[in-house]
């Protein structure tokens, strides 16, 4: 009962702090809104400039091949339905393509290798299509990469489907027969895709609009960033109580120190959960974000709450006064947030080292869990980021709680 009274008191106080409300709810929604409305349009199509794409087709189809996959890919990318997104410019060789990107004449370059058709037909090993992006234009690279990936998936799926179908109906096939069958299905699939117009389609379970998808990434990142701030703020309310004398007064009542500290933690955890839920609902209503299925969403929320509350408790052990807490939390949470990839959530071509570094921060793991949730990943795929996010929170608590008890419990001069 006292535990609930302590938590309720903290919730009341926090709900009356204008600054906290702005930081916890206003800032993430505002930052996401700025981006969303910059890219959103009444039609639901993205309002972004057409990306110029240098296309270098080095593909040399095998003799007698019924298709030229390189040319088909170029045709797909040049389809009228993509004209508002991509303008394909033919460039004779890889060096010229790279030079165009380097000079900024194009947003990205795509280099199709000589064995591309052979790879599609399954008569050669895997082949690599190179996408060269201008690092200063991450959005262009993201758009092109998305479209190309879908085109390549179409080829791969067609070839695989054909091989399987024929194997089941006719038994093991000779290499030549298999190649012909794959060619036929891949061509059909490619033609039908081209006829229908290659569309930007959202992955299952995520938002249909481009702006909403982008907003979801930003909103997820901002939510994590500010939830961690609220967690630290909640923990530092102990410092405020110590300075205001109310903590000492609490200890003059017949209330155990563990109840006082437990009530604080509960109040912070409930605040964080409420903040997350309000942000999820508000962003779904305002930006049309579909956050994924309920169970993964619930687990991602819980993991985020545990991590943010735990990290806050740990940070608290490094500050002496509430005046120190503001700047210290600001610096630590901004740095760990940046390293965790929260400021670059929409960037798709970050160096691998950056991705690795993000895994050394709780925010990085939390972002991975929310990305998986947004992508509609199943629980198995989400298990690792969820478990690591929650485990970091628990580890912070294991280290931080004894320090907190020693410092804020009785006999400590409070």
């Amino acid at each position: 009962m006292k535990l609930l009274a302590l938590a309720w008191k903290d919730l009341q106080r926090q709900s009356r702090s204008g600054l906290l409300l702005v930081m916890a709810l206003g800032a993430p929604l505002l930052l996401t809104g700025l981006l969303f409305f910059a890219f959103d349009s009444p039609s639901g199509s993205p309002q972004i400039a057409t990306v110029r794409l240098a296309f270098t087709n080095l593909d040399r189809p095998p003799a007698g091949s019924p298709i030229a996959a390189g040319r088909t890919l170029q045709a797909l990318l040049s389809a009228p339905s993509l004209a508002s997104l991509v303008e394909v410019v033919s460039v004779p060789d890889a060096a010229a393509a790279r030079a165009q990107v380097a000079r900024g004449n194009v947003g990205a370059a795509l280099i199709v290798p000589p064995d591309f058709t052979a790879a599609v037909l399954g008569t050669a090993g895997p082949s690599t299509v190179a996408l060269i992006a201008d690092p200063a234009r991450p959005l262009s690279a993201g758009v092109v990469r998305d479209i190309v990936q879908r085109a390549l998936d179409t080829f791969s799926a067609g070839a695989l489907a054909a091989r399987l179908t024929l194997e089941r109906t006719s038994g093991p096939l000779s290499g030549v027969l298999a190649a012909r069958a794959a060619t036929s299905v891949a061509q059909g699939l490619a033609d039908s895709t081209g006829a229908a117009g290659l569309q930007l389609r959202a992955p299952p379970g995520s938002s249909p609009s481009f702006a909403a998808r982008m907003a979801a990434q930003v909103m997820g990142a901002m939510m994590i960033f500010f939830v961690f701030f609220t967690g630290a703020q909640g923990a530092s309310s102990l410092l405020r109580e110590q300075e205001e004398g109310t903590l000492a007064r609490l200890y003059t009542t017949p209330t155990r120190a563990s109840t006082v500290l437990g009530g604080k933690f509960l109040g912070t955890a409930v605040t964080l959960a409420l903040q997350t839920v309000v942000l999820l609902v508000a962003s779904a209503v305002i930006f049309g974000i579909h956050w994924g299925r309920p169970l993964p969403l619930l687990l991602a929320t819980l993991a985020l709450v545990v991590a943010a509350a735990g990290f806050g408790v740990l940070l608290l052990s490094f500050v002496r006064t509430s005046r120190q807490a503001g700047p210290m939390f600001g610096v630590v949470l901004t740095v760990t947030g940046m390293v965790g990839g929260l400021m670059t959530a929409t960037f798709t071509n970050l160096p691998p080292g950056f991705e690795l570094a993000s895994r050394f921060t709780p925010q990085g793991w939390a972002m991975a869990a929310w990305r998986a949730c947004l992508d509609g990943a199943d629980l198995g795929a989400m298990a690792l980021p969820l478990a690591v996010t929650a485990a970091i929170g628990v580890a912070c608590l294991v280290v931080g709680v004894p320090l907190m008890r020693r410092r804020f419990a009785l006999g400590s001069g409070t």
């Binding site: 009962m1 006292k2 009274a5 008191k9 009341q12 106080r13 009356r16 702090s17 205001e244 004398g245 109310t246 000492a248 007064r249 609490l250 200890y251 003059t252 009542t253 017949p254 209330t255 155990r256 009785l410 006999g411 001069g413 409070t414």
Partner: protein, 313 residues
């Protein structure tokens, strides 16, 4: 017999500083007991140990026979801290309701106690207003109310009138007296001599962590004797003749010779009747008196006598 508060050999040190040094005292149930001492005497440290906020380095403290700091002792206590310890962003009623819950109250009982105490401290009309908007005196009154919700048998008030206006101070003192009349044992710390004198059944004078005197007001005053003190400042030429001139006046004695500033201290059985005689004899002897001050014996003079320092030094 179980005392409301019992302290035996209690001591506490912070680094090299001895804050409380082997204090012994016992407060009877229903007594209004004051701990008087200058700032830094150790009053708040002693109170902190009684409230269970500080672990003593030596000795023991009992509240109603329970070890100070234990849950049972804390349930008997209502502690009013020196600084206002309330939540400024909660209303007066929300504050009281919260502190009541911390003392285990709930439901109708809690509601009734909150309403009663808001009325008693005159804040009924401001029950929904946030405490942050209150004046210093209003906060102090609510600060006291928050310690009384659970009808404690021992109420400890740590300098509750510091820095407030005379009207609020009067209201607080009246309320402390009322509490005591209603049966609560009151343990009151102050550095205001007048408060201790007005309120207390017994007074302990604390200095540098030690109790230097303990008793009723009259008992303490007897330490300096029951005679009034008359301080004269004499004209330059008169200092030498004054002692001889005043020597055989009835009921008046000198405690020495004038100092270099011409200050002469006399002790009189009754200052009021001594003054006319004094001026008459001075006129006859040609002794010039530049100023005169009569002081009845009080706690200030007791403290001065025992420590050589003024209470407010």
């Amino acid at each position: 017999m179980t005392h409301a508060v019992e302290v035996v050999g209690l001591s506490k040190r912070f680094g090299d500083t001895i804050a409380v040094d082997g204090v012994d005292l016992a407060v009877a149930e229903g007594e209004l007991f004051s701990l008087l001492g200058p700032n830094g005497a150790g009053k708040t440290t002693l109170m902190g140990m009684l409230a269970g906020l500080l672990e003593p380095d030596g000795g023991r403290a009992l509240i109603g026979g329970q070890r100070a700091g234990s849950s049972a002792a804390r349930a008997l206590l209502g502690v009013v801290p020196q600084e206002v310890a309330l939540y400024p962003d909660l209303s007066a009623h929300e504050n009281l309701a919260f502190w009541g819950r911390m003392y285990g109250l709930r439901g109708d009982d809690l509601r009734r106690r909150c309403d009663t105490l808001l009325q008693v401290v005159g804040l009924e009309g401001r029950r929904r207003d946030r405490v942050g908007t209150f004046s210093g005196g209003m906060k102090r009154r609510l600060n006291i109310a928050a310690a009384l919700l659970h009808r404690p048998s021992v109420v400890m008030l740590d300098e509750p009138t510091v820095g407030i206006d005379p009207q609020s101070r009067r209201a607080i003192l009246d309320y402390v007296l009322r509490l005591n009349r209603e049966g609560a044992t009151v343990f009151y710390t102050t550095h205001y001599m007048e408060e201790a004198q007005e309120l207390s059944d017994r007074i302990a004078i604390l200095d540098r962590g030690r109790i230097i005197a303990l008793g009723t007001h009259d008992e303490l005053v007897r330490i300096v004797g029951e005679r009034d003190v008359i301080d004269l400042i004499l004209g330059d030429a008169s200092a030498g003749d004054a002692v001889a001139a005043f020597r055989d006046l009835p009921g008046i004695d000198s405690d020495g010779s004038p100092d270099q500033n011409g200050r002469l201290r006399l002790l009189a059985d009754d200052g009021e009747t001594a003054l006319p005689l004094l001026f008459q004899r001075a006129a006859e002897a040609g002794v010039s008196i530049r100023s005169v001050a009569v002081t009845e014996p009080n706690l200030e003079s007791v403290f001065l006598q025992l420590t050589g320092r003024a209470l407010r030094d």
